[in-house]
Point group: C2
Chain length 397, copies 2
Amino acid sequence: MIPGSKVKRAALAVSMLLLSACASQQPVALRGTGDLGVVVERATGQLQVIETTHRRALAQVSGLGDLSHASVVFSRDSRYAYVFGRDGGLTKVDLLTATIANRVVQAGNAIGGGISQDGRILVAQNYEPGGIKAFDADTLELLADVPATYGTDGKRSKVVGLADLPGNRFVYSLFDANEIRVTDLSDPRHPKTERYPSGKQPYDALVTPDGRYYIAGLFGEDGLSMLDLWHPEEGVRTILPGYGRGEQALPVYKMPHLRGWAVAAGRAYLPAIGRHEVLVVELGSWKEVARIPVKSQPVFVMARPDGREVWVNFAFPDNSWIQVIDTVGNAIVDTLQPGRAILHMEFAPKGEEVWVSARDDNKVVIYGTAKRDKRAELPAASPSGIFFTSRAFRTGF
Amino acid sequence: MIPGSKVKRAALAVSMLLLSACASQQPVALRGTGDLGVVVERATGQLQVIETTHRRALAQVSGLGDLSHASVVFSRDSRYAYVFGRDGGLTKVDLLTATIANRVVQAGNAIGGGISQDGRILVAQNYEPGGIKAFDADTLELLADVPATYGTDGKRSKVVGLADLPGNRFVYSLFDANEIRVTDLSDPRHPKTERYPSGKQPYDALVTPDGRYYIAGLFGEDGLSMLDLWHPEEGVRTILPGYGRGEQALPVYKMPHLRGWAVAAGRAYLPAIGRHEVLVVELGSWKEVARIPVKSQPVFVMARPDGREVWVNFAFPDNSWIQVIDTVGNAIVDTLQPGRAILHMEFAPKGEEVWVSARDDNKVVIYGTAKRDKRAELPAASPSGIFFTSRAFRTGF
């Protein structure tokens, strides 16, 4: 008995050790994270973790709050997705385990965020209370609160059009204060902010892929406000003074997404406001060089990564269509109808495929870009934004 | 006894099950692969697996053969590095486990390779036997052998200047045949090749980041051969007809690396041959717009990812220096001396840091690019090439 029970106890002890040893390991297989991404499922408030190599969904993540206007950035190791929810929630999602690694509710009403050049700082842009907040990307600890105060009585403006810049700086616009601001977070607990008067009511903005030109759309007047971040001393210039003329009556929610603007072959392709046109503008001189007639009011105007094509989706009621522009000759070369309510497109980083969300058909449609052939469809509950981890390596998100 | 021994046997059985269960799992912690890279250690024929977030070496991998002119590309999930050795070896290295996943010896004398737009095809460019070979990126199975035959008697040319293009195509040059070729591998077992006569003895080449312009340096005559891949029907044009004039006597091994050419702010920055100058050329018109005097004969002329700066290293005996050019004003703004025999530089994908190999000091030096402050040094045995996984997402490598 004694030797036997010794062996038995020993064996059981080994079993317990092994159990804990196993438990201490992740039961998830090793894999690279370069081909991962997420699809925002607005209806269920979930995130789908997807993988582009085999065009498949890997897992779903719940508990992210209101995802009705969610935006996503990625950690510099491309393991974590940071989800900025409309309700002010900031959630760090582990793509490998499909679990929530951390979550804070950082504001009452938020409109997205960005990640610093070095990947160590997250910045949320908030409507209420108006301003930006900086967080440690590992711990989500608050590093800095930079209220968008203006005027003499401490009023705070809604913040829009946030983009990251080289040097751990962030550029953003103050809708209520007619101002563009650049906050330097290279010393994150001691932010330094520069202010640049802009046109009236900037409502969204983009920065060119090299991080040089920041261009804000204006709700309160015609034209666009442009700040050359390599020459900030020159201040904000108005470009395309006729842009949006006569269209101020449009409600904001129908204004096109500037984030979708394409920069291709030395030109910017942007949606005309309230017109069935895509405008072509020469970078640097900012002169309009062409107008391309399209099917309806463009919303997203996105360049294929090589810049040879620009893909366009449209506002309701024509939001089931996509048109493709060849940037040589600026002519429409294809018209697609992937499904109902096309809300977003995301290109593979080298451009061989594009993922398209068809909200009202509850699916994501994947096309090859060489022949524009449909490669796959994935079910998704009212999909909106699609985001791939390769965004971790691009400036201006 | 019987119940006891039953329990004992059961417990032992459980132990064995758990052991095998554990063994079937990788003993490596889960991690993202977006911040990984490799440093080629020429002296020991090893690869160092590095991680940029914490600026550290993670592991070493041996058994890669002759790494004296090794080049590296990465899988689309950024888990695997593919190492093309000078001895014709092609090795698939798992960065997560730091082990060799697969290896073939595919030629007698090779000079690098590339990976297709969709990440599914590897292509090696070979001196001996001259041509390219295509391999399955998962299995390294040979998919296609495309000999670089020319003339009437089946001679084969050395292949140089390989670059991947959209549509799973590859462009490369034939040193002995004065030709640029484009091979379409969209049906990888049935490659289709187009031929374009070029200038004499193309020795290296680059493609612009958008995959449009292919530019080959010529050993046999002055000027450069340029093929507009958006208009291949126009054939090869000679640009910068004075480039290299009077320098043909230079041996090939001292010719600058074209792969290092910078494209920044709508201009190309390229090393003058045999002169202490960097040439600035306007993209598209290909007119020389400036010459920047530098410390010595430039070798690599590399743009910081935002294009605001261009970093330059130099040929022996001045190869301990780096100079930094501000692309606004095209003036030298800094001169650094990181160590002896600076062979290569690799920028973080968003440009906040740069890793520099100092071969004769057996170290890699890491600088921040905002203040050009030294952040860290890592020991390495005669380091040459440094490659980060973010290359998986860029065209033209």
